[in-house]
């Protein structure tokens, strides 16, 4: 090829070609928000065939009532994960808050119990936040540590036996929280809906929500936008704590008892639900709609497996596989289709190795 032959060709308009790159809502973008909801819808559509009993009214009520405490904590956790951290201590928090709430109830009735739940949750969140911002412990380790500590304190408080709602309190308004229905909808689920409504506003329609997402997306950049890391951390972990406080109210009024071992492994369930919903563990993104649907999906699936008499060993296997499959779709999408198409992902699956990732 000789040195200077090419003369400038009339170029296509650059903005037009750039516009192709990422304009319309793509399949990928839709999946981000609605993917898990779509799977939930599919599952529900299949229920009449697989598990006809599922659609019985009382069963639906039971599923919704039972989802609430997981769902409410998952809403709080969505903020933590969107900010780029997660809270491993929620299991310990739930145990401790539940124990303190029952102590509060026996000491001062419903009002004190509700106040104790929210206050204890908030206090747990602030302890985490203090360790993370004040002592600079990474959130993973800080909350792993407080998971042990909160559970330990709950154990100490229940050394003489689990705290229990006495049976003669069956008529008290506190107990009603877990059992009452509002227009046929279980009260815990109503509380969960309210929590999600508020959380959605907080994440999407407030400056704080924007700042949390900004911080999760790039802590360094957020700092130079005048966003205080300390305030974000405190807010987010306090929020998780309060969500546990609210969740504990719906939990304890349904189960009536708590001690240090309550809901062992709860933290992993919550994180799995949030991630299943489409919130990225890397931070910067959060979808409450996804979390909501994921919580229901897990509950519905669990209920169907239980009602169909699937042994618990196989229930585990099914739930684990669902997690991997859902996240695989997500992983393939974010990995291959950054500008938003499944085409390359498919081509890659057919002809290995991928052009994006060699080795």
């Amino acid at each position: 090829m000789s040195t200077d032959t090419q003369t400038p060709k009339p170029a296509r308009s650059a903005p037009a070609s750039r516009a192709d790159r990422a304009g319309r809502p793509t399949l990928g973008k839709l999946w981000d928000t609605w993917g898990i909801t779509a799977i939930l819808a599919l599952l529900l559509a299949a229920t009449p065939l697989v598990a006809p009993d599922f659609l019985e009214f009382s069963n639906l009520q039971s599923v919704l009532r039972e989802s609430a405490y997981l769902g409410i904590v998952a809403a709080g956790m969505t903020f933590a994960i969107a900010s780029g951290a997660f809270d491993l201590s929620v299991g310990g928090q739930l145990a401790l808050v539940s124990v303190v709430t029952l102590i509060g109830y026996s000491a001062g009735g419903t009002a004190l119990a509700v106040a104790a739940a929210v206050a204890t949750g908030l206090a747990c969140g602030l302890v985490n936040a203090g360790l993370i911002t004040g002592l600079r412990v990474p959130p993973f380790v800080a909350t792993l540590g407080t998971l042990f500590v909160f559970r330990g304190v709950a154990y100490i408080l229940t050394q003489d036996g689990p705290k229990t709602l006495p049976y003669d309190q069956i008529g008290s308004p506190f107990v009603k929280i877990g059992g009452l229905n509002v227009a046929g909808i279980p009260l815990p689920f109503v509380i969960m809906l309210v929590v999600y409504g508020a959380a959605w506003l907080l994440l999407r329609r407030t400056a704080t929500g924007r700042r949390i997402l900004s911080y999760g997306s790039s802590p360094a950049a957020a700092r130079f936008c005048g966003i205080s890391e300390t305030r974000i951390r405190i807010f987010v972990f306090a929020l998780v704590g309060v969500s546990v406080g609210i969740a504990a109210l719906t939990y304890i009024t349904r189960v009536w008892t708590a001690d240090g071992s309550a809901q062992d492994g709860f933290e992993l369930k919550v994180i799995a639900a949030v991630v299943l919903g489409g919130t990225s563990l890397k931070g910067g993104k959060g979808t409450l709609i996804g979390t909501f649907s994921a919580v229901l999906l897990v509950s519905v699936l669990n209920d169907m497996l239980v009602s169909q008499g699937v042994p618990s060993a196989y229930q585990r296997i099914v739930l684990g596989c669902v997690l991997i499959v859902a996240l695989t779709i997500d992983g393939l999408r974010t990995r291959f289709a950054a500008p938003g198409s499944f085409r390359r992902a498919l081509s890659v699956l057919v002809q290995r190795p991928s052009p994006v990732d060699g080795a």
């Binding site: 009214f57 919704l64 049976y167 046929g184 189960v255 309550a262 239980v306 060993a313």
Partner: protein, 325 residues
């Protein structure tokens, strides 16, 4: 954007609607008034052999009576226990038998059962102070006492002069299992022994092994060890063996439950004794009580104050190990 927020709510509403339309079709009350008696059994955790046997006994007895048997597995989770047991009641069982993972969580279940007029028979673990109709329970404290009496005898037979023994407990939340250690302690102290170490192995074999090693380091002269369950009991006996001592003739090791691994170990000289509960018989007994409850017949209680019906416990040693099925 606004639509996005509403859709899940709409979805949930649709879900509830779907439920509404169906709910008239199968009214639990009518289902309950079929000729065929339906019995629901909510079991602690089917991963454990003990409860597998209990389930087998319950199922066999119910089927023998021509009842329909519905099973629910609590999977060692109080939330699943409440949800699943309440679901059984919703499904219209005529009587509920439950071996509760957390007895203190029986309240909401029994409240729901009472509202629907379903009697509740508790099988083992504990009653949590709730108004159940009857509870079939192994005599935990009595079992601990059996273990202590045997241990005293065996220590004497071993020609040991040490008056020190150890006790390994389940997780701190297992208050009913703790009665075993309490019964053991009371009886053995009466016989002039001292419980020099009372430590938790959290019901796990791994931790039972470690804890026994710690006990051996601290009190090498212990003459016996009682464990709150067999996985820990056999593990502790293994730790004793690994320390070069004999779990029968040096340190009298006693477990609780008569799990197959304990029976195997006793036959092989790897464990001195265990306290047998008979989960199968307990299951059968609950079905008998359930029938009485449905027919509103009076139940004869071993301890009327707590509406307890004791299922006897028995000591299993090498002599009678073969008799355990």
């Amino acid at each position: 954007m606004r639509k996005m927020g509403l859709l899940p709510i709409a979805l949930a509403a649709a879900l509830v609607m779907a439920g509404c339309s169906d709910s008239n079709a199968t009214d639990p009350k009518t289902a309950g008034k079929d000729d065929k008696v339906v019995v629901g059994f909510s079991v602690y955790d089917m991963q454990y052999e003990f409860f597998q046997k209990m389930e087998a006994g319950t199922r066999a007895a119910a089927t023998a009576k021509g009842w329909e048997f519905k099973l629910h597995d609590e999977k060692s989770d109080e939330n699943e226990m409440v949800t699943g047991a309440q679901a059984l009641i919703d499904q219209g069982v005529d009587v509920l038998i439950i071996s509760p993972f957390k007895p203190s969580a029986l309240g909401p279940i029994i409240a729901k059962a009472k509202a629907k007029g379903v009697p509740v028979i508790v099988d083992d673990i504990g009653g949590g102070g709730a108004p159940y109709d009857a509870i079939v329970i192994s005599d935990n404290a009595g079992g601990g006492k059996l273990a202590a009496d045997y241990m005293v005898k065996q220590i004497a037979a071993n020609n040991k002069t040490s008056k020190n023994v150890a006790s390994i407990t389940c997780e701190p939340s297992a208050v009913y299992a703790a009665r075993r250690n309490a019964g053991f302690k009371e009886a053995i102290e009466k016989a002039g022994f001292k419980v020099v170490a009372e430590l938790s192995g959290n019901s796990k074999a791994e931790e039972g092994y470690k804890v026994m090693k710690d006990i051996l380091a601290k009190n090498p002269d212990v003459a016996g060890v009682f464990s709150c369950n067999d996985p820990m009991g056999v593990a502790a006996a293994n730790a004793i063996k690994d320390a070069g001592k004999n779990p029968v003739t040096d340190i009298v090791s006693v477990g609780f439950n008569a799990d197959p691994e304990a029976i195997t170990a006793i036959k092989a000289g790897g464990l001195a004794a265990t306290v047998a509960q008979d989960p199968k018989a307990m299951g059968e007994l609950t079905v008998k009580l359930a029938e009485q409850a449905i027919k509103k017949q009076a139940i004869t209680f071993s301890n009327p104050a707590e509406r307890e019906v004791f299922n006897p416990v028995a000591l299993i040693t090498k002599e009678n190990a073969d008799t355990v099925k």
